[in-house]
Amino acid sequence: MLKYILKRLLMMIPVILCVAILVFTIIYFTPGDAAQVVAGQGTPAEKLDELRESMGLNDPYFVQLGRYLHQVFVKLDLGTAMVNKTSITSDMQARFPYSMTLALIGIAFAICVGIPLGVYSALHQNKVGDRIAVVVSMLGVSVPHFWLALMLILLFSVKLGWLPAYGVGGIAYWIMPIIANCVGGMATTARQTRSSMLEVIHCDYIVTARSKGLKQSQIILRHMLPNALIPIITVTGMNFGGMLGGGLIIEQIFTIPGVGFYLTKGITQRDYYAVMGGVILLSVAFSVIMLATDLIQAFVDPRIKAQYAGDVKRRRKPHAREA
């Protein structure tokens, strides 16, 4: 198991490196003059030339790429923001906790509400409660979360005046952003739970468990859920990525000073370094989460674990990885 974790950690390095290269390349070929952004409008042409030379913008693509990668991965420095001239690394350190809080609490809600809801629907298939749960989760999947955020503001801040419309502070400030951010994840978790529970519910081992006279709660917790859990974990990992990305708009609406807000500001100011830093950081966070979901899957399912345990010959072929 430890070997597997180490191997997966090592495999993450090239992926992250490639993400950085990809993001750098996308931004590199973006039309626009970085020197102009740094110097501001109305700078004389000679000065811009000088600046371009000192920033190394006249160097070939590979030299610039190498320099950027060296800076990010060896010195662990995301560079200096072009407009505000602040260190992006320290900006991110200040902002990352907000984005993570938003996504982590969102995921926690998605799991705590989504899984019980899905289990309930599966156990009461085609009854009234299930129908309602299915409709509600379908609505949750289809509602644009930024619109939901606006409607929440309209109801709870403008009409009722219960919650603050924007900013950060106590718990009251977090309620609406978290609800808006996690509704989609909650709904997908519920849908996935329902469908994978329905797949195991008629299995022979459930009949056996029932005929043994086990309590319903024991059957659900010990026999159904563990077997239905693998796709649910995958969906939860994907949801986390959705919430990290979706938090971008939510942070902007509620003016939460997280990475997403920084990114959108970077985009409007054409601050390419800030955008690159933010995207790379969030992608790394996402990769770590995906690794964690893989490990949890191995932990939950002995069949997956067996493939990596000790020095058992690996049965998984390199091409057998399905989409």
Binding site: V141, S142, W147, L150, V158, L248, V279
Partner: protein, 315 residues
């Protein structure tokens, strides 16, 4: 083989052999699907129509499509026409009210349908076309090519979806065509994976061996024998994704990327109405409701389509 003799005499040997392979392939497909050769499409539609929800949702989707196509004809005003006082409440004259510049919100929403649905369809088309091409190559050749392309997909998919679309939007710049490509490129990895996995299953099918044994070129085998058989599941999956693409497009436009004012894409309408949410909440309510209803109907139609095509649920 039940071929007419004069046809066999007339055709070149290779074509003859290939038509035999195609015949076999038809028989193979028929065995896999339904015992009787009926129109698959009609059969699926019939199965879908058993559920009232599906019919209603399909009608809603068609209604939105119709509004999008006919917007210039049936919308009361143009999308940039300032026709009344600003901030009029919804009334008989202006069903959805007017915005900060006195433009009719109903007309803007109707014109916006064209942009929102158009973006969704075009971007899906782009990711389908490129994804199918790459997935086909990876699935057919396997080995190093497959590994390389799949690792590339891994990398693209390790950037959270909206972030990737956003970065691409920044790189491509604003405008309708650029937004379509930014959204489409983001979806390539997912459809490439799908195409690859259905190619992996079909690669070993007998009719492919048959086609290869009569020395068909790779391009011919891929385009004439495998893609027609691999297409359906990929198409259904992608159709189910259109709703999500429309939502992502609205999100990007909400952030001010993508389609630019005064073009009335629904996300852009929301973004414009956001500043006046205290004064004129109808600016936000109506475009958002349209997104919700359309995406909901699309998702339900997708679900219905998947159920109708699921062989396990056949009667």
């Amino acid at each position: 083989m039940p071929e007419k003799p004069e046809k066999i005499g007339g055709a070149a040997p290779r074509e003859r052999a290939e038509s035999a392979a195609a015949l076999y392939e038809g028989a193979y497909g028929a065995l896999e699907e339904t015992p009787k050769q009926k129109s698959q499409f009609l059969e699926i539609l019939k199965r879908m129509s058993y559920s009232k929800v599906n019919v209603i949702c399909l009608a809603i989707v068609l209604f939105f499509g119709l509004v999008a196509v006919l917007a210039p004809l049936i919308a009361p005003y143009g999308y940039a026409d300032m026709v009344a006082q600003p901030f009029l409440r919804p009334s008989a004259a202006h069903l959805f009210g007017t915005d900060n510049l006195g433009r009719d919100v109903l007309s803007r929403v109707m014109h916006g349908a064209k942009y929102s649905i158009g973006l969704g369809l075009a971007a899906t088309g782009v990711s389908l076309a490129f994804g199918m091409f790459l997935g086909a190559i990876a699935g057919y050749y396997g080995g190093k090519v497959d590994d390389l392309l799949m690792r590339f997909c891994d990398i693209i998919q390790s950037i959270p979806g909206l972030l990737l679309n956003m970065a691409l939007c920044v790189a491509f710049g604003t405008g309708v065509a650029n937004t379509i490509f930014a959204l489409g490129v983001g979806g390539i990895a997912a459809s490439a994976r799908l195409m690859r996995s259905s190619f992996l299953n079909l690669r070993k099918a007998e009719f492919v061996d048959a086609a290869r044994s009569i020395s068909c070129s790779d391009a011919r085998i891929i385009s004439r024998h495998i893609i027609p058989n691999a297409f359906a599941p990929v198409l259904v999956q992608t159709t189910m994704n259109i709703g999500a693409v429309i939502m992502t497009a609205a999100g990007l436009n909400f952030l001010g990327l993508g389609v630019q004012a005064p073009r009335p894409e629904w996300g852009a309408l929301l973004s414009g109405g956001r500043d006046f949410i205290r004064k004129a909440p109808w600016l936000c309510i109506f475009p958002g409701c349209c997104i919700l209803v359309l995406v909901l109907s699309l998702n339900l139609v997708g679900d219905g389509l998947r159920d109708a095509m699921d062989p396990k649920l056949k009667k």
